[in-house]
Symmetry: D3
Subunit: 69 residues, 6 copies
Amino acid sequence: MRLSTRNQLAGTVTAINVGSVMTTVKVDVSGQEVTAAVTKEAVEELGLTVGSKVVALVKSTEVMLGVED
Amino acid sequence: MRLSTRNQLAGTVTAINVGSVMTTVKVDVSGQEVTAAVTKEAVEELGLTVGSKVVALVKSTEVMLGVED
Amino acid sequence: MRLSTRNQLAGTVTAINVGSVMTTVKVDVSGQEVTAAVTKEAVEELGLTVGSKVVALVKSTEVMLGVED
Amino acid sequence: MRLSTRNQLAGTVTAINVGSVMTTVKVDVSGQEVTAAVTKEAVEELGLTVGSKVVALVKSTEVMLGVED
Amino acid sequence: MRLSTRNQLAGTVTAINVGSVMTTVKVDVSGQEVTAAVTKEAVEELGLTVGSKVVALVKSTEVMLGVED
Amino acid sequence: MRLSTRNQLAGTVTAINVGSVMTTVKVDVSGQEVTAAVTKEAVEELGLTVGSKVVALVKSTEVMLGVED
């Protein structure tokens, strides 16, 4: 499926922290760590484990910008 | 300011597309392109130009995951 | 690509309102209208026109619930 | 209350999965399943149970679009 | 309509900046300024003008926290 | 760090509800209550406790508007 989502960052799962309903998944993206908070259901459905190849997807309207002082 | 925001990706602005109210900003993050859609007002206030060093900030609950078929 | 995104609603584009940077796209989903605000760039890249078959994707953390009084 | 929220999808709760802080609620919307991840507090306050009539609310900037290959 | 949305901040519109598709609306909330970026369509539909009494609605999963250094 | 985030609301933590992965934090902002749902990890990292001075940060595209009937 092609997506309108502008940000599609390829990476590898490095950690999964399973919660009662939500789960955080850490992804190494070119040496920078990206954290996704998705439903536990989704993680199970996608069969994610440490080492899984994933794409971290972020809609552009969800990206803020900071400038160091 | 230290932030709860899990995703703080350092990069460099590569393009700015100014709209009437919103503006898209492209950022090179370790070789991958991140697009932010923020208000025109914010871009002006931060004084962003191509080449500006920025941090792309994304709350973990805004990150989805995809697995290629 | 299989997605963590819980909400994947199949529908047909019924209207496209192109802005300077953002664009709204109306989608008929089983008789209910869904509006997406995405970047103009994305709409062009996906080649969307009225009548296009699309999937409206919404992360579960972005869905609120209301109860009529 | 009238809302700026473009997407207001009427439906019926089909499942509720209560977590420690978050809760997922499945809603049947014209035959398609919508999942909301909201706070446990909100579900209790709204008194939601399976069979409750609800409106699934999604801001247009949170809707992405996909096109099947 | 009662909402799952945890944040419902009463205020008064102080400025409206109309764009081609999106519009920013500034709201005075107990002396602090809140900015909403919503569709132009929504602003027209709600009949908002400077001085309008509104409620600024934010899902809890969209709120980040910062701590000054 | 200066931020593109339009909404930066100063307040004081009044309650913290720790979950397995997510945590809700209540903040008093000029007499109005703001609830943030952030990761448990972030709350620990920021060392938040009841009484902590924080800034509640919300991107403008995440703010909806309601008008009472």
